[in-house]
């Protein structure tokens, strides 16, 4: 049976994406890459072939063929972000086939050594794309002397090898886009793309990928590389492009997000799956108060985000701001202004983690326990929606759960291009 490349995937391999609670952009990347796991699983591949820019090789392209690399990795830069345990199953056969095929035309090595230092990019990608290590993987190094042409040729040889192997394969690239890091400590919350010029190039490049125009992306890559320091000269892209026999299929590369000054693509399927069928995505923000019932903070369907009924609660203390209870737990006072503000802040957090914001809200439904609170609620609301005024309905209700005096739900659209 002829082998098949089912999909190509691009993910940023920095450990920051494993810490979604620290930054909204990191959370978006985390969700984006994690979301790919179910897509990959649905394709029922035999193996993931992973090219990592953080495994740099000198003696040609290397292939990991140790059957079961496992251990705990401590990143040399980002050791403060926590240990990176790993336990992979390697598809030894396909790695050896790659090395044999490439060895006829270019230098290569198959690597099988105990305690070989598996790189952070591979570990991060596998943690999110293949969390339970159900699928075997074949890890490919980034050859330091490969240029765009050689990387493309490597991709083509690997494609031929996959087709002749009879295996169903997902190919994945663990790589950043622009790699101009901040060189001083920053508060993770304040992380953003470090250069506006890089940002513009990243968006332009992603736009070309999103439209499926790989050829245009490849020709732009030369100028892109002159303007921005790119992760391994964007060889991961040339490798992926080489592996794509069609070259011009549609892509769904999602939004760009900051990643410690880098441009990271939010793990989009670049080719292979032609359908753009939308799927439901549940969203729970680690920064917002946890849901008190059997619901998610939000559900996204394509570009639309539906926020659940959210109320006032401090995410750190879990208390309702301004609420006063007597010794028996009976409500004796509340502050509608504090509750409205807390409710809107919680919704803003959830929207951010869903890739949206208050400026992109389409519809608001507000439920007030006491319609006499309308004036105060409306004043605070106006602070949050000063310029943009979504469609809104405010309804007085007979009761609300717990001791809250206000609950709000919203529908928003996701921001395009971050």
């Amino acid at each position: 049976m002829k082998g098949q490349i089912l999909a190509g995937v691009w993910v940023p391999g920095l450990p920051h994406v494993l810490r979604p609670e620290r930054n909204a952009g990191w959370a978006t990347l985390y969700r984006g890459i994690s979301g790919l796991e179910s897509k990959i699983s649905a394709l029922k591949p035999d193996v993931i072939v992973l090219y990592s820019t953080q495994w740099v090789s000198v003696l040609g392209t290397s292939f990991q063929i140790q059957p079961n690399p496992k251990g705990v990795h401590v990143d040399e830069n980002w050791y403060d972000l926590g240990d990176l345990p790993f336990d992979f199953k390697t598809d030894v056969g396909i790695g050896a086939r790659f090395a044999a095929s490439i060895g006829e035309r270019m230098p290569t090595k198959a690597v099988n050594y105990e305690e070989f230092p598996i790189d952070t990019g591979s570990i991060v990608a596998m943690r999110l794309l293949n969390a339970e290590a159900k699928l075997p993987v074949s890890i490919v190094s980034s050859w330091v002397y490969a240029d765009a042409a050689k990387s493309g040729e490597l991709g083509r040889i690997m494609r031929e090898t996959i087709l002749s192997s009879g295996k169903r394969v997902v190919v994945a690239a663990s790589s950043l886009l622009s790699a101009r890091y901040f060189t001083h400590e920053i508060d993770p919350v304040a992380d953003r793309v470090s250069s506006l010029e890089d940002d513009a190039w990243n968006r332009k490049f992603l736009g070309l990928l999103e439209s499926g125009n790989f050829d245009a992306a490849a020709s732009q890559a030369v100028q892109y590389a002159k303007s921005s320091p790119l992760d391994m000269q964007l060889n991961a892209f040339h490798w992926l492009r080489g592996g794509d026999g069609r070259r011009s299929s549609s892509g769904t590369c999602d939004r760009l997000r900051a990643n410690l000054g880098n441009g990271g693509c939010r793990g989009g399927i670049l080719y292979g799956t032609r359908s753009r069928k939308m799927k439901l995505e549940t969203i729970n923000s680690p920064r917002a108060p946890f849901p008190l019932g059997n619901y998610s903070h939000a559900v996204a369907y394509g570009d639309l985000v539906f926020i659940s009924g959210i109320a006032a609660r401090d995410p750190k203390t879990n208390q309702v701001p301004g609420l006063k209870l007597d010794a028996d737990g009976k409500k004796i006072g509340y502050d509608i202004r504090a509750e409205t503000r807390s409710t809107l802040e919680n919704i803003r957090t959830i929207l951010e983690d869903a890739g949206s914001d208050l400026e992109h809200v389409i519809e608001v439904n507000t439920y007030l326990l006491e319609m006499k609170d309308f004036g105060a609620y409306n004043e605070v609301y106006a602070e949050f929606f000063a310029r943009h005024k979504p469609a809104r309905t405010t309804i007085g209700v007979a009761s609300l759960p717990g001791h809250i005096a206000i609950e709000m739900k919203m529908v928003a659209v996701r921001k395009r291009n971050g």
Partner: protein, 298 residues
């Protein structure tokens, strides 16, 4: 406590081939020798280090690359097996090092006084890079002198070369002050090759010296020019040509170790002693030593 001082500086390149060729008990892989001129050069350095009786060896390695700031290892004991990610078939080395953590803390303080971002690496599970290990092994295979590994901040690769090298000058000054405050006799080591373009294929066996030669004549000419300037103590001229050397010979000194070491030594006019030059899969490697004069040590 007496004022500390730097008793020597070394340019100590780190190809794992040198450890492989030596067949020390720590390395699991065995060879038939090779790269003797460089290994003999290191033998002379080992004698020099023993004679100098340093309290600590500081090493700046380009294979511990840090993105945010300059990091100093501050774990008292580090041990483990280091497998080289690039040449795993040559280097699978069991290491154990004692770190001068008090000096690490002083280096961090002084680096911050220079306006640099600096950090202590305190994770006990940290995987020290093979460059640090190779240079330290080649200088002191007994590992009986405390060490202080220093990371190579990658700003020279992201900022302009000049900005990056300026940072290394500051880091060198900071290191020298920290050593003074610590009151120790220190050796500072730049773990760098010179010209750094490799061959992509190696002979079988790797130690087949009939296949070993410099990657290009242009690289060789650059290496000789730079070595000659160091041998003659022409530090100003060396610093002037360094950017061109780095760009044209793809020199590994871009990562800053050499500039850091020279700055820590106070940019000595002393002639550097060349213990040996040799190539390793095409890269140019010089093993060199600076003994600062009494005046320079002040």
């Amino acid at each position: 406590m007496a004022k500390g001082s730097i008793v020597a500086g070394f340019l100590a390149p780190h190809p794992p081939h040198l450890v492989y060729a030596e067949n020390p008990p720590q390395n699991r892989v065995k060879s038939q020798g090779g790269w003797e001129t460089l290994r003999w050069a290191y033998e002379a350095c080992r004698e020099s280090v023993r004679a100098l009786r340093p309290d600590v060896i500081l090493v700046h390695s380009p294979h511990w690359t840090t993105i945010v700031g300059h990091h100093f290892v501050a774990v008292p004991k580090l041990k483990g097996r280091s497998v080289d990610p690039i040449f795993p078939h040559l280097f699978q080395y069991d290491f154990e090092m004692t770190v001068d953590t008090a000096l690490a803390e002083l280096c961090r303080e002084e680096a911050e006084r220079e306006g640099l971002t600096a950090k202590l690496m305190t994770h006990p599970g940290f995987r020290i890079d093979y460059g640090t290990i190779v240079s330290l092994h080649m200088l002191n295979p007994k590992w009986d002198i405390p060490v202080l590994p220093v990371s190579a901040n990658n700003s020279p690769y992201f900022c302009s070369l000049e900005t990056g090298q300026e940072q290394m000058v500051k880091l060198g000054r900071a290191t020298a002050r920290a050593i003074e405050r610590r009151g120790v006799r220190a050796v500072v080591v730049a773990s760098n090759t010179l010209s750094h373009l490799h061959f992509s294929e190696e002979p079988n066996p790797p130690e087949d010296m009939s296949k070993e030669h410099v990657q290009s004549f242009a690289q060789y000419q650059w290496d000789m020019k730079v070595i000659e300037l160091m041998r003659e103590g022409k530090i100003d001229e060396l610093i002037a040509v360094l950017p061109q050397f780095i760009n044209e010979a793809f020199a590994e000194v871009r990562s800053g170790g050499l500039m850091w070491m020279l700055s820590a030594l106070g940019f000595p006019r002393t002639r550097a002693k060349l213990h040996g030059y040799g190539t390793v899969i095409g890269t140019g490697n010089a093993v060199m030593e600076w003994i600062p004069s009494d005046e320079e040590r002040q």
